[in-house]
Symmetry: C2
Subunit: 339 residues, 2 copies
């Protein structure tokens, strides 16, 4: 246990991210300094936003540097502690990335290191109660402001964020339509997540199906996809519609700039709003949201899927699953069970 | 005076609107019925939004039908009245369009017929105090919410709406940069309208100039243009920026869908907002806004330009001036002086 396995960012991607962008290396396990904590990673989170972190460009976080372990959300366990508030064996959440061990400094803030509530399932804290669930919660409620009886359309609806956003909309009394890829995901949406209907963008005319399934037009479009899906949705927005801009996965692996929708003027005609957000701005309110989300899970109103891969060697390929649509709900990888 | 001259919409435009889309005809002057008013048009307003009214598609107003006089804002004079509240000789505002005479019904609402305050200059009511000034006022203040010290970027800045939006931003303590076409318009912006600086999109690299002139980035982008100008602006938005979507004149005469900006994800990264509006929604508050605008005009804080063409025969060509950039400020055409 003196070796720290890592997957480092070796080459920035051009186009589709692949395992070739990363290199495996082994380094010594780092030593925690005064006030620091040594964490051993157990579960890694895979999120579309990681693709952006691989680009050498300004964003809401600095790019991952070449030669650094790939940044990723993770649940880990305190392995050694020089900080009075952290004890060996406690479960923590970090942005520690693709490695077995990392040194974290509790004074660097919640994003860097936070404790998990006792007894919590690590897979839940990395999915429905964590970043993706929180993204759904704050995006839908704070930006979308759903009103009972409204029609809510969600793209990337079978994903970890979209599926939660749609279900919260249903809980709030909205009619909810999801857009997802393939019959299996669409069936999950209507049968398990109890969306009112689902559109399979791989086999259906999305524009025509939105028109058909949203006769009162779309009051909230929660968008994870962008591109042609966004354009189709904008054709059917209602007066004073809110477009919650959560992500644009359709363009994350593009090799050239992808033009935006040609119908932005519908925003003007319909007095609508498109608004973006980054969930880390809500971090100081995560605990309250997690409590409400947990309540919905326990009452059966909110279901979630986790797709847990295993094996340190499979980390790079697991990231690509997000962009090929292979993942079934929240993509995780288990490195190790808690000690 | 028994003839009513009209320019009717004869053919819907494909691409750039031209005089060929209209046909001249003469019809009898209509008779006002019970409770109706016969209005003689004096001044016509020309607005980019008229281009949209010529298309056979759903929008915030129904399309102008083929064979109907082209719809246009106008100031006219009551010529005969069967309504107790309207007297012959009073000045009124209508949407009466490209004709000498129209019958209006006061019960059809303010958009159809409203009285002008006594002594008002018709050119003012069709510009700085009217639709274009109101559009600037409500778009900037209600959607943009300018704060003192913020940076405001305006496209179509020498136009009737953009010039007023930028000056209101300056009055509210903002740093204001305008984008316009050609050195004459840019000089007017900085010298007369007292913008802090101007970018000539015809001769300058708009993206580079925004970067240079907005070192603290752009807090509000008041956009009348869309297209490449919008994309350039989105590259430089600040955190929590507001993009006031007023219009998109760059695409109004396009013959094929014009792709939107490729950088919409900057809206997400910067937690920004793009919002559209139609000024008629604010009509019940026009009077109060007109009073404030008039105060700024009288104190010299707000200047405006009107470009008054003359001659009924020149009506169709005058519309095209908006899309070639020939207009200098608010485009009007005088049909006749008040009797």
């Amino acid at each position: 246990m003196n070796i720290n396995r890592q997957w480092i960012l070796a080459r920035r991607p051009f186009g589709m991210v692949s395992a070739d962008n990363f290199e495996y290396r082994e380094v010594p396990v780092p030593e925690p300094g005064d006030g620091e904590v040594l964490v051993r990673n157990l579960y890694l989170s895979f999120d579309p936003t990681q693709r952006g972190w691989m680009e050498d460009r300004e964003s809401y976080m600095p790019p991952v540097r070449i030669g650094e372990p790939m940044r990723a959300g993770a649940v880990g366990q305190v392995f050694a502690s020089n900080h009075p508030d952290f004890e060996t064996g406690e479960l923590v959440q970090t942005l520690g990335g693709w490695q077995d061990f990392l040194v974290a400094n509790p004074s660097a803030g919640m994003l860097s290191l936070s404790k998990l509530p006792p007894g919590i399932d690590p897979a839940m804290i990395l999915s429905v109660l964590g970043t993706t669930g929180q993204t759904a919660y704050w995006g839908l409620l704070d930006l979308g402001k759903p009103q009972s009886g409204e029609t809510v359309l969600v793209s990337g609806a079978a994903g970890a964020t979209g599926s939660v956003a749609g279900q919260i909309a249903r809980i709030k009394g909205c009619r909810v339509i999801g857009i997802a890829g393939g019959p299996e995901k669409c069936a999950w949406l209507t049968e398990e997540a109890r969306f009112d209907d689902a559109i399979d963008y791989k086999s259906e005319d999305v524009d025509a199906r939105i028109a058909e399934l949203c006769p009162d037009r779309v009051d909230i479009f929660f968008d994870n996809v962008g591109g042609g899906i966004l354009e189709a949705a904008l054709n059917h927005i209602n007066m004073r519609a809110r477009v919650v801009m959560c992500g644009g996965i359709s363009a994350y692996n593009a090799t050239a700039p992808v033009p935006g929708p040609a119908n932005l003027m519908n925003i003007v005609v319909m007095r609508a709003r498109m608004e973006g957000f980054i969930v880390i701005d809500y971090m100081d309110r995560f605990a309250a949201a997690a409590q409400e989300l947990m309540g919905w899970v326990q009452s059966g109103e909110l279901v979630y899927q986790v797709d847990v891969q295993e094996g340190f060697e499979n980390i790079p390929q697991t990231l690509t699953r997000l962009f090929t649509g292979q993942n079934r709900g929240k993509q995780l990888l288990k490195i190790a069970d808690p000690a």
